[in-house]
């Protein structure tokens, strides 16, 4: 196998892993709890930007990055930038969550989230001193720079795989706990959940933070690999790609969401590359979104539960002992 092909395959694995982590975070919010977080992509962006700034070093003193502007910077050893960037995503959620989740009905909440996403993009593009405007941050050094490109890539695949396993363990812990029922009761009927003493706003805020932390983690993992991040890569439309992955894969079903994440996050974007060239080159991007749009309409029409529907939690009843939760019916 040529080095180029090896790097390409490793890159697909990294994209798939990052996409799976991001989609699991969104599924926790939207699939389990019913939070329509249309601002999800900005939390991934926060993770990416913070990780970049903590890897590149101070903007004014670096020899390579003097032509880039950003708020602060530090040169921290790997994987500290990823960890701190993940924390930054959680911190931002703690700040904005209480305002966004305050007494807004689902449809209005979705609009508020979308507006937040648009504001974040516009501000980032307009204020060049923040994170280098529309150009974005680039030349972020790879964590294993002393190795050959192919070896670097495959070691990074291993890093992402560890990240996926950690997130899978966290999600599994939640799904197999009474908390999962509380979150789904909030999703199904907030008034009824509240009447049973469930702190609906608290549960939504905690899930908002948990999901966005995973988004920031995925963003940090991605920029440490691709080395660049600009507003054009995290416009509001990217959030819809993740939503599509959750809906198509199977809202509330982690395995299904992972399948959706791979199909939408990697499969379609790579497939359109092999389309024969026609018209303007920018049409390729448009075709990708047209295809995703058509796919989501088709699924909502013919299979709204997704490729793998949400698992029904079936219990053995007392005279059918032992009393344990069993797998899907």
């Amino acid at each position: 196998m040529s080095s180029g092909l090896s790097i390409y395959i490793a890159t697909l694995f990294v994209y798939a892993g990052v996409s799976i982590i991001a989609c699991w975070g969104l599924d926790l919010q939207y699939g389990s709890t019913g939070i329509p977080n249309f601002a999800y992509i900005i939390f991934q962006a926060i993770g990416a930007y913070v990780a970049a700034m903590l890897t590149l070093g101070p903007a004014k003193h670096g020899s390579v990055i003097t032509y880039q502007q950003y708020l602060f910077g530090a040169r921290l050893p790997y994987p500290l930038p990823i960890l701190l960037a993940t924390f930054a995503g959680a911190a931002l959620s703690v700040v904005v969550g209480p305002f966004l989740l305050r007494r807004l009905r689902e449809d209005y909440l979705a609009i508020a989230m979308l507006v937040l996403s648009l504001i974040a993009t516009v501000v980032t593009e307009a204020d060049v001193g923040l994170v280098n405007g529309t150009t974005g941050i680039f030349n972020v050094p790879e964590p294993f720079g002393s190795l050959s490109p192919a070896t670097q890539s495959w070691i990074y695949v291993g890093t992402v795989a560890i990240g996926v396993l950690i997130c899978a363990a966290v999600v599994r812990r939640i799904v197999h706990s009474p908390l999962d029922r509380v979150l789904r009761s909030v999703r199904e009927n907030e008034v009824a959940a509240s009447s049973l003493g469930k702190n609906v706003r608290g549960a939504k805020l905690a899930t908002f933070i948990a999901g966005n932390t995973m988004a920031a983690f995925s963003g940090a993992l991605l920029i440490e690999f691709i080395g660049a991040w600009a507003p054009s890569g995290w416009e509001y439309a990217e959030t819809f790609v993740y939503f599509s992955a959750v809906i198509i894969g199977g809202r509330g079903r982690r395995g299904g969401v992972a399948v959706g994440a791979v199909i939408l996050g990697v499969g379609i974007s790579e497939a359109v590359r092999y389309l024969p060239t026609f018209g303007d080159p920018s049409l390729v991007g448009a075709v990708q979104f047209m295809f995703i749009g058509a796919l989501i309409i088709a699924f909502l029409w013919w299979r709204p539960e997704g490729i793998l529907p949400e698992r029904k939690r079936v219990f053995r009843l007392p005279d059918e002992a032992p009393l344990v939760e069993v797998e899907s019916a």
């Binding site: 939640i174 197999h176 908390l179 789904r184 009927n189 009447s195 003493g197 948990a210 509330g252 009843l317």
Partner: protein, 276 residues
Amino acid sequence: MSGVPTEMKLMRSAGPGPAASTLEQSLLSVAGVSRSFGGVRAVTDVSFAVPAGALYGLIGPNGAGKSTVMNIIAGTERTDRGTIEFRGAVVNRLADFQRARRGIVRAFQHATVFGRMTVLESLLVAYPDLPGQTYRDVFSRPRRRWAEREQALIERSVALLDRFDMRRTANEYTSNLSGGQKKLLELMRAVCADPVLLLLDEPFAGVHVRNVEAVCELLAEVRDGGVTILMTEHELNLVERLCEVVIVMARGSVIYQGSLTEGLREQEVIEAYVAG
């Protein structure tokens, strides 16, 4: 009791009902409560008290304001004026979930179920003392802490389902239940939530006739277990059978409090039911 207005103390109390005599031990005290929606006054200066361990009926014709009063007590509606005291503390400023945690649990007039959750899950989610219901719990306690408790609660829930011959629906999605079954599930869910005061808004509406007796038995049992119940109901024969005292509302106000038998002789009550 400081929160009980003079009008309430002077209210007619026909028969030996505990309302007037036990005001001092009231579990719930509704005092001077009013609520308007736009220009419509749904509830006007409503006052009554419910003593601990009683089963009271809140009755009246359609549009009398019963459900609004229930909503106000449960905290899903705010008051324009007046106070709600529960166990001696004013709870006006508490959110509905905070009131539920203090023991004010309700079942709605129109059954509210968690459609994509099974019947058993809907009951399990109601138990307040099950560990593992918060993020902190999930990541700070070992799984066995809630797994063992959950098993006991499954047994308790299935026993409850057996009372209404609903065991076979335990693993069904609640969206697949009939209207009456949803109503029963909501009642069972409220009972599982460990209530001190149970607010039931027309608990018999839509319930199959063969289950009416089972509901009556459950309510009596719950009451005998020390839970106070305030229920609205249109079936007066059931109210007479279950409720020691009825509070009659008409046009947003309380017009009578006492035994149903005596109340039905009162001209104002008769007119309210006939005239609406």
